[in-house]
Amino acid sequence: MVTNVTNFSRSGLSDWLIQQVSAAILALYALFMVGYFLLHPQLDYVTWHGFFSQTWMRIFSLLAFIALSAHAWVGLWTVITDYIKPTRLRFGAQVVLIIAIFVFLVWAIQILWGA
């Protein structure tokens, strides 16, 4: 069994499942948003803002952003461990990735509830 501290998760299986489930959520969200834009070709601020003020939309969006964080973490952690071989550099890249994901998540919450 290969162990790796920065895996931050129980197993490759859970990583894999997380990636599948988050992908499904993101796919749904992406389709939903594209559909919304197609249905509202002349979108204005009021409609747009109102749309995002609804609680269910906020929760759906938050779910999508959390899925996004997980999806990006698993995917990019894989990319980093594939290509970056020097340990310090790889660890550094992982820290940057975590911070970036954290920033995006905070930003997302702020967008959804801060406005």
Binding site: M1, V2, T3, N4, N7, S9, S11, G12, L13, D15, W16, L17, T78, T81, D82, Y83
Partner: protein, 234 residues
């Protein structure tokens, strides 16, 4: 005259590998790549490559032939040569010992890691253990692996993590034992494979399937292992 370009490296004389050009008279016959190497070895006895059975069952002469991994002994020129040019390089991703000979150490180590032998903790009967033809059929497409390493050395995931990712060849064998109705160590085997590297580094690239000289399908076997891991965990 066939134009042949071969990766050369002799650690005793060369600081770096280089490509050497040869002209080979095939007399217009559609011979195997291994026969071309034999002709070259008559010109230059210092050319190093492995070979044994010369019929595609021992797995000695895996190499990169015009950009694709394959066995030299069962690859006819007509299948690979275009514009009269043949380029031979060692299997990608493994350290080169000399010329077309690579150090297979880490490949074998990954094979050994999956405990490639039947484990059964029950006392064997006086005759054979019975196995139905249907149970035996599950081993088809798995036990035929000849350990030539064509698959693993065509796999980018194995290139980047040869020490952590078991690779297609090893995983095909891992599933060969998981699928054997006579093996009782499935749980232990799966536990060894659950981490994020051993199995899950497979990204479904399928280069392994594309190059396997025996027509085997490691990608499918890996999928089955994933399913078993799911069953085991949920």
């Amino acid at each position: 005259m066939l134009q042949v370009s071969i990766y050369r490296y002799n650690p005793e004389t060369d600081s770096a590998p280089y490509m050497q050009e040869f002209q080979v008279d095939t007399q217009g016959r559609d011979i195997m790549v291994l026969n071309v190497l034999e002709l070259i070895k008559q010109q230059d006895s210092s050319m190093a490559y492995r070979r044994s059975c010369r019929e595609g069952v021992c797995g000695s002469d895996g190499m990169n032939i015009n950009g694709t991994n394959g066995l030299a002994c069962i690859t006819p020129l007509s299948a690979v040569v275009k514009n009269n040019k043949l380029t031979l390089r060692p299997l990608p991703g493994l350290p080169v010992v000399r010329d077309l000979v690579v150090d297979m150490g880490i490949f074998y180590k990954q094979y050994e890691r999956i405990q490639p032998y039947l484990q059964n903790d029950t006392t064997p009967p006086a005759i054979e253990r019975l196995q139905s033809p249907e149970e035996r059929d599950k081993l088809d497409g798995l036990y035929e692996c000849i350990l030539c390493a064509c698959c693993s050395t065509s796999c980018p995931s194995f290139w980047w993590n040869p020490d952590k990712f078991v690779g297609p060849a090893g995983l095909l064998q891992a599933y060969r034992f998981l699928a054997d109705s006579r093996d009782t160590a499935a749980r232990e085997r799966l536990a060894e494979l659950e981490d994020p590297f051993s199995v899950f580094r497979c990204r479904g690239i399928m280069n392994c399937v594309a190059v396997c000289p025996k027509g085997l399908n490691p990608t499918r076997a890996i999928g089955k292992i994933r399913e078993l891991l799911m069953e085991n965990a949920t």
